[in-house]
Symmetry: C2
Subunit: 340 residues, 2 copies
């Protein structure tokens, strides 16, 4: 069956095959899983709820992306939103809008990637919807999390706060650029970059740990590029951010030289590349977010000031390109990208 | 701005315009609405959760469907799933995957239809996602409801139960057929049929009332056709259903004669037409579901027996066509339809 196209086996057979892959026995809070009109969930906490869609040709290469990475991405874009609220992921639903010509095996491998990413974050896939129409495949997932601590809102940055980065940025964009050029000339950093592009990690445990402190913390997940997402925090909080990012911990001098030799704009990737799913966090100046988040890959990168807008230096040099420059020029494959 | 295309105004401007239309002030349980990484919701009850997608060319006619009816449909397919679980609708998220050439006005009028349908059911739209790519527009909504009573599961039918229909079936299919032919020859019934197609009503209050009885009740919403959805209940419950539907209350002898004269297969529409969003309900034989549901348009239509499968008579005559016959031949515009 997996050698066939989804339009040939039809909706019911595809749903049965998908269900067999997501049914992983009883799961915390799942009163009723797939197979009825809706899932039934036990809930006694405030909830964080998000929805995000990834699309063929925009978010992945139909001809170059491992099928498992499609479902992985559909899960991670949502799990990362929960992480940026400090919520504990609990459940996901999946909506598939498929071209009938898509191979069944692609979908089922994608489901495996989705379930693996959800499981790694402690969440269960509890249902969804499948439909066919001509056009690029779209995977829309929605995720619910328990917001047990103090939520990490975008509007909570205050002048005097320090700014932290949880996880590297720029690698996913450089991985994408590598794929677009089909030019693997410096495996020392490009293999890490490809891995960052295909298999981004949502910063779930860091978000939960920061929410659990019960202290005012602003956070956003860096999905559309550091500069653009920093601008969103600045706007929502009514403050100015000055950032000075030293990428040495994840992209050292050697890597930068190799990237430049290969014609890769690593500075633009760090400033404006998307899809790394790092967290950008602000907290009172006397707090140690690296220690609180429990994440080694966590660095202070700037200050919150009164005012508006974002000033960004990368490796000591002011970045003056557009916030969506690398994003719209390269980080998305086509179109204007999604909102996440 | 509403005269422009969505690709021309871009994601941020479109999101701002959408937000202005869904922000309706404080709403029950909404701790944080649109604008952050996720919505935050207060929750202290079991939840029913569903996701459903509608697509241009499959679920509506880009050239003939009022734009408000697109959003109405995106809400109703989800609200109807909650109704079929007996849950009280609380919140919705919306994911839009849009062709850049779609007029902004179409999207904003669709949002108005979505918000109106959600409000009519007591639910609030609390966020979503927007993305652009070439292809048919897709509106994916997900809805959460409070499952306060005894959920109306598909697998709860027992031999000896009576079967009830809450709301008419077949009208939406006949409305669709009218549109497909562009042939309005018998306004007496066709105008009602067009209204049923464009503006289906989810049976929310009936579902809530039936769940509140605390008694074993099976239910499914009739979205893919009476026969197919009855088969789903029979399969999930391990029983046989015999149904004898008298459509006189909503499609009388005069209408049937007119339909036949016009070449419309009203019998197939009742047996296998989709998108009416009636509820098919089973309950112990001594219960009066019409009285319990508080819905006047509620009729006993059959019995649950030991065995398997569904036997369906329409206006006294056995229906022997395929369960998905009218559905796949006409009720959906193209393709194999969605799972709802």
């Amino acid at each position: 069956m997996t050698g066939e196209r989804v339009g040939a086996i039809g909706e019911q057979a595809l749903i049965r095959a998908i269900r067999a892959r997501i049914a992983a026995g009883p799961h915390d809070g799942v009163l009723l899983g797939p197979g009825d009109d809706a899932a039934l969930l036990a809930c006694a906490a405030p909830l964080a709820w998000t929805l995000d869609c990834v699309t063929a040709g925009v978010d992945w290469f139909p001809d170059r992306t491992p099928a498992e990475a499609i479902g992985h991405r559909a899960a991670v874009v949502n799990l990362s939103d929960l992480a940026a609220m400090g919520a504990t992921p609990k459940w996901l639903l999946l909506g598939l809008e498929l071209d009938p010509a898509t191979p069944v095996a692609t979908i089922l491998r994608g489901i495996d990637g989705l379930v693996a990413a959800a499981s790694a974050a402690g969440a269960a896939v509890v249902g969804g919807d499948v439909g066919f129409r001509s056009g690029p495949d779209a995977w829309t997932a929605t995720a619910l999390g328990a917001a047990l601590g103090m939520p990490l809102r975008r509007d909570a940055a205050r002048p005097g706060d320090r700014v932290w980065l949880v996880g590297p940025v720029g690698l996913a964009g450089l991985g994408l650029a590598t794929l677009q050029r089909d030019d693997l000339n410096a495996p020392s950093w490009q293999e890490r970059a490809l891995s960052a592009h295909f298999w981004p990690r949502p910063r779930v445990s860091a978000g939960i740990a920061l929410a659990a402190t019960g202290q005012r913390t602003a956070a956003i997940d860096v999905s559309d590029g550091l500069l653009l997402d920093a601008e969103r925090v600045a706007e929502a909080s009514g403050v100015r951010l000055t950032l000075d990012v030293d990428p040495t911990p994840w992209f050292d001098d050697d890597a930068r030289r190799e990237a430049e030799t290969g014609g890769f704009d690593w500075r633009a990737a760090i400033a404006a590349g998307g899809d790394d799913y790092a967290l950008l966090v602000t907290a009172a100046a006397d707090r140690d977010v690296a220690q609180e988040s429990g994440v080694e890959a966590c660095w202070p990168v700037g200050r919150v000031l009164a005012g508006a807008g974002v000033e960004l230096r990368v490796a000591g040099e002011a970045y003056l390109g557009p916030s969506g420059g690398y994003l719209h020029g390269g980080s998305r494959l086509v179109g204007d990208g999604g909102s996440r």
